[in-house]
Each structure stands twice: as C-alpha cells, then as structure tokens.
C-alpha cells in the first residue's frame, strides 16, 4: 500500500490538487484555506465529524458545487476554467457512487449501468447489455439482479449496482460517498475487498468519504482528517494514530477507534508470526 502511494508520487502530477480552497454558506465557513493532494492509484479517504465539510468538498470536486475561492485541479484540469465540452470530457473520466445509490428508478439495474455507455459511446445495444451484465458481475451481483428495478433491491445491492454504474466507462478516478454506510458487516467487508480489487485491477485512484474504521484501517492508503475548515492531519492510519491534534485524537480515542486499532495491530502481528 505504502509502496503504491510512493509510486504514485513518483509518477508525476497528482490526480487531485486542491489549493487554498474556501467555501462559505452565508456566514457559515465550511472550508478556509484548505490544501490537499491525491496521488495516482491510491485509495484516499476523507474523514471528519458531521459538518466538517467532507460532502461539500466531494461535491466541489465533482463539479456540483462551486467553491468561493481557491483552485481545484483534477486529472490535470483546472475546474474553474473548464468550458462545457471539457467538463463533459472530464465527467467521462471519473465515476461517482452516491451515498444512496442515485440509481434511476424508472430504469432497471442493467439499463442504469448501461446508461453512460449508451449516452457517450456508439456501441450496439446487445453489446452494452453484455458489458453491463459483466460490470454487475464484477461488483458481485447476480445476473438476475440486472432486470430488477432499484426499488426492489436491498441496501447492499443498491451500493453495488451504483458502483457498477460508476465503473461503466472505465473511469480513472472513482469517488465513493460512504460506500459502507448502512451495510451489514459481511457486505461491508465485501465492499472493502471490492474497493481494493478495483484499484489493483484497473489502477484506479479512489477517493472516498467514510466513517467506517475497518475500511480505513484495512483499505485506505492515506487518510485526511477534516475539521475546523481545514485538513487537520494527513497520512496513513498508523501515522495519524501518532498525531496529537485534538480533532484527530477524538477520532482515535473513542471506544470504536480503539477497538479497530487493536484489531489492526493483532492482524499485523499474526501476519508477522506467519512470516516467521
């Protein structure tokens, strides 16, 4: 993991580069002078308490909200300076999985997954259906799910279907909003594996918002803790665990944070025992 992230750094320009970002809602300051970089092929997590501006930051990165000041460069493009064509092109190069799926209720799952291909390419319908079915399979859904409608799916299936749609155009960059929220532990573990598998297979850069400590310990290469409008700390979970800013400590010192940390250390020990 670490090696991968360092590789990414050596690979040149960061995938996402945020400089001096400020956002305000009326008198309420969400971000003030926020700086952040995400490297190629890393799994990057944004954490922070509610109201710390994670979701707003994500919305700003995917061009759904315009910041008040500062610059965001994604895949080499400066977001504020893009014209309509460039925006469309950029949107084709990333995939977004929304917290509640964001699947279209009037289309069945396979049509939902095939929609980006239908809109942006000139492939035949039969081919698109086959590829959509494969994408569903990649995300761990049964082929029969394809002809069901989003309203008929369980929460975990919705997330997977939404992920399959985000992957439809083979994006270079994937945004995940709370990929494991509302899932049972087994499904959440499945998502952990899936995220890792996708990065390894396609060399995807993955940016996710999550509160899931397991996901953070097991999967994330680097984690940024947001608080008080800026990045409080950034680094691997092990590095963050050593820092002592109060807003970061909050995150680690709760009973859940301790439990996840302990579990992680146990696993590391087991691994080193096996190696011996």
């Amino acid at each position: 993991m670490q090696a991968d992230a360092q590789n990414g750094q050596r690979n040149g320009a960061p995938v996402i580069q945020i400089r001096n970002l400020s956002t305000r809602f009326g008198a309420h300051v969400v971000h003030s002078d926020l700086n952040l970089e995400v490297h190629r092929a890393e799994i990057f997590a944004l954490v922070g308490g509610s109201g710390s501006g994670k979701s707003t930051l994500l919305r700003e990165m995917i061009l759904l909200h315009r910041p008040d000041a500062g610059t965001i460069r994604i895949l080499g493009a400066e977001l504020a300076a893009l014209n309509e064509d460039a925006v469309r092109e950029l949107r084709r190069r990333w995939g977004v999985m929304f917290q509640h799926g964001g699947l279209f209720g009037s289309l069945n799952v396979r049509e939902n997954v095939g929609l980006p291909l239908r809109e942006h390419t000139q492939l035949g319908d039969a081919l698109i259906d086959e590829i959509a079915a494969w994408k569903l399979e990649l995300t761990g859904l049964a082929p029969e799910t394809g002809i069901q409608y989003p309203a008929e799916l369980s929460g975990g299936m919705l997330k997977r279907a939404s992920l399959a749609r985000a992957l439809a155009l083979d994006p270079e960059l994937l945004f995940l909003d709370e990929p494991t929220a509302g899932l049972d532990p087994a499904s959440a573990a499945g998502v952990d594996k899936l995220v890792k598998k996708l990065r390894d297979l396609f060399g995807l850069t993955i940016v996710m918002i999550t509160h899931d400590l397991d996901l953070l310990w097991q999967v994330a290469d680097r984690v940024a803790v947001l608080g008080a409008g800026t990045v409080q700390g950034i680094g691997s979970m092990d590095e963050l665990a050593q820092m002592d800013q109060p807003l970061i400590r909050q995150f680690f010192d709760g009973p859940r944070g301790r439990a996840a940390h302990a579990q992680q250390q146990e696993q590391t020990q087991e691994r080193s025992w096996k190696q011996k």
Partner: protein
C-alpha cells in the same frame, strides 16, 4: 495504467471531434492468415462498430492463431469484452490462441475476463403475449376498483369513528388544509368562473338579440352557472390543485417510509392524513362553489351590459325573478359529493405508490385523471336524478 483515455471523442462524430483530440479508433489487421495484429484504442470510445466487424471475421479450420497486442494504445473492459468474444469463437471452432506482445496491465485485464467462471448470457426479459397482457391489465383494473371500494369503506369507518369521538378530530390540520385547498384557491377559481360567465353571456348574446330576448341573458347565465358550471369548474380546479397535492404528499411519504413509521407509532395514517383532507374539502368546496357562482354571474352581468345593453339593475331583477333558490341549492349540494370524490381518490392513489419518484408521478397523474372523470360521472348522475325528481 491505460494510456491517454483523456483524448476522448468519437472520430465519427465530427462535432465532438472538433472539441477534442480524436481517439485512434480500434482496428484489427490480418497480415498473415494465422496472425492478427490489433491497433489503436480498444476502449468504449474507440471500438465504435468494430464488434460487428469482428463477428463477421471468419474462423473456420482448427488452427493456432497469434494475436499481437503490442500496438494497442489503450484497453478497457469494453475492448476486452469484444476481443474475448472473438477469442471464444476461435476456441469453439477448435482453434487455440497465443497472445503476444501484450503489455502487463493489458494482460491483467485479459486474465480477469478469462478467469470468469461461466460466461452467462445476460438474463433477458420474457416478452408477454398480447392475451396475457390483456388479462393482467383487466385483473389489475378490477383489483383497483375493489381496492378503491375498500379504501372508501375504511375512510367511512374512520369518519364514523371521529363523529363518535369528536375530540379525536384534528382541527388544526383541518384548518390548515382548508387554507391550502380553499382559501389559496380563491384567486384562480374566481378568475376562471368570472371568465366562464363572460363566455356564456357572450355566446348567448347573439342568439338572444336575434329574437329580441335580451333580458333572458340573466336566465341563461344564472341557470347555467349556478346549476352546472360553477360546481363543475370548481371541482375540476380543486382536483387539479389539491387532489394532485394529496396524492404526491402521501405518495412521497410512502416512499420515504413515513407512513410505515406512523403505523408503528400507533398513529392511523387514515386519521391523520385522510380524514382532515376529506373534512377540509367538504367544507371548502361548497364555499368555493358559492364564490364561483357569484363571480360567474358577475362576469355574465358585465357582458350583458356591454353586448346587450342590459343594465345591472335590470339584470339582477330578472335574475331574482327567474332563478328559484332551488337552482342555487342544486348546484351547491353537488359540491360535497365532488369534494369527497377528490379527497378520497387523491389519498387512495397516494397510498398505492410503491418504489420511487417515478411511481409518485404516475399515481399523481392517476389521481387527477380519475378524480375529474368521477366528478363528471357524478355530475351526469345528478342530472339524471334531478330530472327524475323533477327539479
């Protein structure tokens, strides 16, 4: 990583190609009968119609073929899928395939697809025969009629219950609904019935003048507005304004599980959502009808003076003499019936919502269409009833 998928835009689409540097389209050449060389971007944007071209390539004799991928610029899942489909055709013809020159990251993708357990065909939707569709539609329509009757029964029971226990009636909600469905509808109901009065007087004026029967314009306007037009136009506007709002509100609450939450908290949705709406419309619609009567007649009066030279005083004298109070009452009596239809149908359709936003829209449309339909049917039945009773 795949090289440069940023250079997007289909070469066939000149408008888009102008905006971006074009993708090198994927291609396949056959320098030797047993050797295929792949070129260009084997990606969603580069494949274009290559899959049909590949399907048309002949693979007949069992032989070993070589597929050279050294000059593939980019490969994504779509490209892999198309290529794998071709390779499977070679396999099933008894041939074997050797891949040469592929880059490591491309091999990884190829392996991913090759590892797939069983290449299952996508599940297809079973088309229904016409007869089955007809049968299903008929059963569904019949079921809905019974469901509506069921709902009417439940509402009636709840209504009886609240009459027996008047303290349980939610007056605050009722007042709120009266404001929404009644008071806020005053401008549009007033304007439309005023215009309707003008139209009726205007249309009649020409005929009446021909017979020198100018003063009968008061009979015409009074009779038609009080008895038919005012109740009907009011009911139709309220069905469009409030019936749809009821269906959308209850429908959205169903989708967001608010209705289920109410049930689990021991609050009957019928008591909280449906009864206040029925009460509110039962009160508001007759009042709106009287208001529409007044403005409709006023519109006719203005037109009578402008077109036929019938003064306001004359018009009102004639109106009082010609129109019996029973005509007015017959119009107003219909309003509560229309109100019950609109409120019950609106709420009923709201409760039928299941699934998502799509369903809310569909049920809202149905609520309005069915309410207007039933209002007009009820109006026709009233006409028959009144003529039998000789009013």
């Amino acid at each position: 990583m795949r090289s440069n998928p940023s250079a997007a835009g289909q070469p066939t689409d000149s408008a888009r190609a102008a905006a971006h540097s074009p993708v090198t389209p994927a291609a396949i050449t056959q320098p030797h009968p047993r050797e295929f060389v792949l070129l260009g971007c084997w990606t969603a944007l580069g494949i274009d119609s290559l899959d049909r071209q590949l399907d048309a390539l002949p693979v007949s004799r069992p032989e070993q073929i070589v597929v050279d991928g050294a000059r593939v610029e980019a490969l994504d899942t779509v490209g892999v899928w198309v290529l794998q489909r071709f390779l499977q055709r070679v396999h099933s013809a008894g041939g074997t395939v050797r891949l040469t020159g592929w880059r490591a990251e491309h091999t990884k993708l190829l392996d991913l697809l090759a590892q797939r357990a069983a290449p299952s065909a996508p599940v297809a939707l079973r088309p229904q025969p016409a007869l089955e569709r007809l049968g299903r539609a008929a059963v569904a329509a019949l079921e809905q009629v019974f469901a509506l009757l069921n709902f009417v029964g439940e509402s009636a029971l709840a209504l009886a219950g609240s009459v027996a226990h008047p303290t349980r009636v939610r007056w605050r909600t009722i007042l709120h609904d009266i404001q929404g469905a009644g008071f806020n509808a005053l401008p549009i109901v007033g304007l439309l019935s005023f215009l309707l009065g003008i139209v009726v007087a205007y249309q009649g004026a020409e005929q009446l003048r021909r017979y020198g029967a100018n003063i009968f314009v008061a009979d015409l306007v009074g009779w038609s507005m009080l008895r038919e037009f005012a109740p009907l136009i009011t009911a139709i506007i309220v069905a469009g304004r409030s019936g749809s709002a009821y269906a959308a509100q209850i429908g959205t609450m169903t989708v967001t599980e608010e209705i289920d939450a109410m049930r689990t908290l021991g609050i009957a949705p019928l008591d909280v959502l449906v009864l206040p709406k029925i009460f509110a419309l039962l009160i508001a619609l007759p009042l709106l009808t009287v208001y529409a009567d007044v403005l409709g007649v006023f519109g006719g009066m203005i037109m009578a003076r402008a077109q036929l030279g019938v003064g306001y005083g004359e018009f009102l004298d004639r109106l009082v003499n010609a129109i019996q109070p029973s005509t007015y009452w017959l119009g107003v009596v219909k309003a509560p019936v229309f109100a019950a239809i609109i409120a019950v149908v609106g709420c009923f359709q709201g409760f039928l919502t299941h699934g998502g936003a799509d369903s809310v829209g569909r049920q809202t449309t149905r609520a309005v269409v069915q309410a207007i339909f039933l209002v007009i049917v009820a109006d026709a039945l009233f006409s028959i009833l009144f003529s039998i009773l000789d009013f």
